[in-house]
Symmetry: C2
Subunit: 267 residues, 2 copies
Amino acid sequence: MDLDDYRVRGAGKAKLSEYKPDDNGGLERAEAEAELPDLLRRMQDLQQCLYAEKKRSLLLVLQGRDASGKDGTIKHVAGGFNPLGTHVMAFKAPNELERAHDFLWRIHHHVPPAGHVAIFNRSHYEDILVPTVEKLQPKHVIEPRYDHIRRFEELLHDSGTCVLKFFLHISKDEQRERLQERLDSPEKRWKFDPHDLNARAAWDEFTAVYQQIFVRTSTEDAPWHIIPADRKWFRNWLVARIIIRALERMDLQYPASPPGLEGMKIV
Amino acid sequence: MDLDDYRVRGAGKAKLSEYKPDDNGGLERAEAEAELPDLLRRMQDLQQCLYAEKKRSLLLVLQGRDASGKDGTIKHVAGGFNPLGTHVMAFKAPNELERAHDFLWRIHHHVPPAGHVAIFNRSHYEDILVPTVEKLQPKHVIEPRYDHIRRFEELLHDSGTCVLKFFLHISKDEQRERLQERLDSPEKRWKFDPHDLNARAAWDEFTAVYQQIFVRTSTEDAPWHIIPADRKWFRNWLVARIIIRALERMDLQYPASPPGLEGMKIV
């Protein structure tokens, strides 16, 4: 299995129909679940070196339809990070002050400083998705946002931030089951939002905008990954593997000892 | 063992010499380590209900001398929380803008919103500790801060935030060993700050200020706990137990189902 199979490169690979939501990468569930704790330990070791080095940072962007597993990915994968140096930000509909600024203003505030990991649960991509599907803003307002986002992510990359973007790809059937489960379970009902049904009804419209987003904003330096998400165990395993590979490629280094400390004895 | 033995109530219990840094609460290491995963799961379940209820929040304040285990407590105990809804803030020496405001301005910004957990790695208490020991500010500036802090924490409590404060209590010998280990290990050397040796030299001065802090700011609603911290496994176990008890006492509730959702079928 090649991790790059899940990375969007070029328009040809930007169609969601090219990816199976129930793909398991040829893995067995037991195998993936048994490996996950080791992957998370490896991830935390790499994060510690990122934190110690304090020169670069990691930004994970999670997008996906309702019930696609964004919260679950945060709990089971991002939960492997040391919370010291990890910041999760869930972006909701912008408030009045946020709407009074450009759409990247509130996003910029939460990007990770050197040494840190930030995870965006939804992101600036909602500012393309929602206004397009719900026709809340005219085309001449939405259209330039693709370029603004590409340049913004380039700024982050140039400043030492590794940007990884994940689309959690579930099937319409799986979404129905998960939403139904939220309704039927007293401990999950608080997650159910009747508004989600509107988004479900606009399934194909969202697909079309996501594909636009993949074509126009998946770059070498801030790639999109399409994560098959019908099987939670494969989703977790794959996201962890992609994060680890990216951190390994950063060639992180513990800082050299400051001069004069060699052989020092504490009294 | 009574968890309240570690809570500061009244001036008589505010002397550090009353607490043994190597206390193990009568527990065996193997026993405590075997129990920790269950405690963390319980902690995460309670946190999920806090998050779902979205009415109250939890603030953990970690203080302690260098190498007393603040980072370790965050990694091993706070690491049990779901990162969605958890925010760790490490307060360093205030920067120019922060110094241009009152000392609680930067702190207030990071208190947990409803449903969330915040962990302060150092805190507003540093604004009493450092200026007192290093004589950076006159008494008439430092002295009122005790009252300001008490009223500030009362505001948080009245607004639904459960405030728990922990002092990680290590012995001077244990600190020497840990600082030496930082110096001698290439993977830990980045944590060593020669400035820590000044604080070590002022050990007794810090003890005196901490005791003042305990006497004057340990209240029923924002109590200080003195955590024996020479044994990391007991420190982790005890902090987790105290957090769980506090969350249990909040009597958290999953929100009731909104009307009209009963028996609904998703199509």
